[in-house]
Symmetry: C2
């Protein structure tokens, strides 16, 4: 991975030492070093469909990897995600699945996520609760963990100090990916390489991370929006993973001042969004930083054929160009345009669309989030703001149940 | 459609008259009144796959409708979109299609869109250029229009005064949707009803539109982000349509001052994004307005079954609740939470997920964009900012061609 920055920023050495200290407490930092032999407990399952029941941090990581690599078609298994309470979508998704040839992976850190448990219960109304068709992934001692032990379900725990949105390299992300046959050791090697180049060496990546975090935090009032402009549809769900990580980690009350701070992530896909959001970046308010994410090598030589179409001769300059060349030229043209327009931008380049490289990207963005959170002085790892909504929902549910009972009587 | 606003805003009557004037010049306003008998020219096509080749405004509208309604499975045809120069995605999409049973609908307003023509040429290298397998949709007299006439292709024009991102109710959106068997007249009726309730009556919708446009424009420095929080996965591509419309129309230099203005759209899906972006709305900076979009009636009575799981007794309050009830309760809980936190919000409710109602939504958002653009004093209908990138790309392509030739010699 290469990361070039095109704006001026300084390095805050102090933050580096703060993060080094944090590493001893916060669990995600050492996930690339974890022993993963426990995954072999999954070898006994042979179902064709792997169905993850989980929402937010419980699904976004595995989904990002699967979308990034699904074009490789390396396995006959298919991966599905059930995450919404929207009944139409839920039933459409279930229509794609043979319930008798599915392994359901129920993932919930708290073990009591409303969406996840609702869907789990619905599944149990469609098929018997055979222990060989279920895997649980949850916090040690959560209600779901206890249920798993009681029912003899293969149950995996999530380390207490690994938050949901930082859990892609833990059992949460690894279990579905291992079941799909992806090379987990390569994923972790990618993450480990970024870890080492940040903590143990003086690399360009370390410098870029420290500079970006400083810049984003110091200019948060001016540049309150961070766009990730990823040049390939393969990044569609990686973008969604990034949006969760950034929004939920940094949108917080400041620890000292109680001021509401945070940065708004926007995920864009090139070249599609050149025909959409780009105009706003070019001519709109200068309130955005932009990171371009590029794949150097698509390993695909498909060319635009050497065809002359009458009246369209001016586009013959596309002939014989590889699509892979074209998409990267499109990215470079936009980059050049924005450099001329004072938009703070940087470029991340990975060599190819491989599991090693998405491992790098995960760890890179987790580090960037931790660093920026430290600079903003927020609790990067909690999400207190969503609790109140859950409480209100519980009250609504209780009221609705009493009224149902009243009607029934 | 109902639209309730929960912030204080005034109405600028002047803008209403400005828009009434603009209606005589800008083409999209009267699209719901257009004669659509021309669509019967498509009745001669019987291919199973409808493949739209187009990007941005040429694809987002039809895609929004198709995603919204695909659960109804009313036709045996399938709709595909080829829009990216990413070779991996392009080839995966083509793998889903039987080239010998496909109608290719090539849509490009200028008739020379780089992505669209590149993909069109690629298709021509895979199958013969039979006129019965292609439909063109483009500006009158564009290069593509001329090519269509010459080759005897069924060619439709786009009215000159209808911009790409405002074209969903023109031939651009209607042709793919008609081919898919959707009830176009209902789509237009929905749009027409909003048109009438804005221009000819004093309705709540008119009042809401005028108030929202005023508020967004007057507070653009404070609230520079507008989130659309749509409660159903069915809105996934409608959100993308909204993002293009809002970003590309409003991100502009102001006509008088040359100041860079604009508002950043963010598309969210509930309840999924309650586990992602929501934390940032609740505890992050107060720089966002939020619109909630809800479906009153999912026409689905699927319930969470009355199942008691040991250790999870606290969630028994979900039992016997319909999923459709639950998702709307989730929305209402978040709304209640945000009302307590001084976030300027409004709620759009539609009765059900039908083509009539997405027709309403399209026209509603087009009006809102026009009104806000007028308040911001920008040229809502151009996109000058993206031209420079295209020029740079052309230079890069020319250079690359000369170097290819140099190597070849």
């Amino acid at each position: 991975m290469i990361n070039d920055i095109f704006f001026h920023a300084h390095i805050n050495e102090h933050i580096f030492y703060e993060i080094k200290k944090e590493r001893t407490v916060v669990g995600y930092y050492d996930l690339p070093l974890t022993d993963i032999t426990y995954l072999s407990r999954l070898d006994k399952f042979h179902q064709k469909h792997i169905v993850v029941v989980g929402i937010g941090g419980s699904s976004l990581g595995a989904k990002a990897v699967n979308t990034f690599l699904s074009y490789k078609k390396h396995t006959k298994r298919t991966l599905h995600f059930l995450e919404t309470t929207d009944p139409i979508t839920l039933k459409s998704a279930l229509d794609q699945i043979d319930l008798n040839d599915s392994l359901f992976v129920i993932i919930s850190k708290s073990g009591r996520t409303i969406e996840t448990i609702s869907i789990f219960k619905y599944i149990l109304s469609l098929k018997p609760f055979n222990k060989q068709d279920f895997v649980f992934v949850t916090d040690m001692d959560s209600p779901l963990f206890k249920l798993g032990l009681q029912e003899g379900i293969e149950t995996f725990y999530i380390a207490k100090n690994v938050g949901g949105r930082f859990s892609v390299l833990s059992s949460v992300g690894l279990i579905p990916l291992y079941l799909m046959g992806y090379d987990i050791s390569e994923l972790l090697r990618g993450a480990r390489d970024i870890r080492n180049s940040f903590f143990d060496e003086n690399t360009q990546i370390k410098e870029s991370l420290l500079k970006k975090a400083s810049f984003y935090a110091e200019h948060m009032l001016h540049y309150n929006i961070n766009a990730l402009f990823s040049y390939s549809e393969l990044f569609r769900d990686f973008n969604a993973w990034y949006v969760q990580l950034w929004a939920e980690s940094l949108g917080k009350k400041q620890l000292n001042s109680q001021l509401n701070v945070g940065l708004t992530p926007v995920g864009l896909i090139g070249p599609t969004d050149q025909h959409s959001f780009l105009q706003l970046i070019v001519e709109g308010p200068k309130d955005k930083t932009v990171t371009f994410l590029k794949i150097d090598n698509f390993n695909d030589t498909t060319k635009i054929p050497d065809k002359n179409l009458k009246y369209l001769e001016s586009l013959n300059l596309l002939n014989n160009i590889e699509f892979a060349q074209l998409i990267n030229m499109q990215a470079d043209s936009i980059i050049e345009n924005l450099k001329n327009r004072d938009v703070p931008l940087d470029i991340i380049q990975i060599d190819q669309a491989s599991i090693y490289h998405i491992g790098e990207l995960f760890y890179y963005y987790e580090l960037l989030t931790s660093l920026t959170g430290k600079m903003l002085n927020v609790d990067t790892y909690g999400q207190p703001g969503v609790e109140e909504g859950k409480k209100i929902l519980k009250t609504k549910l209780s009221t609705s149940i009493s009224s149902l009972r009243f009607v029934a009587r």
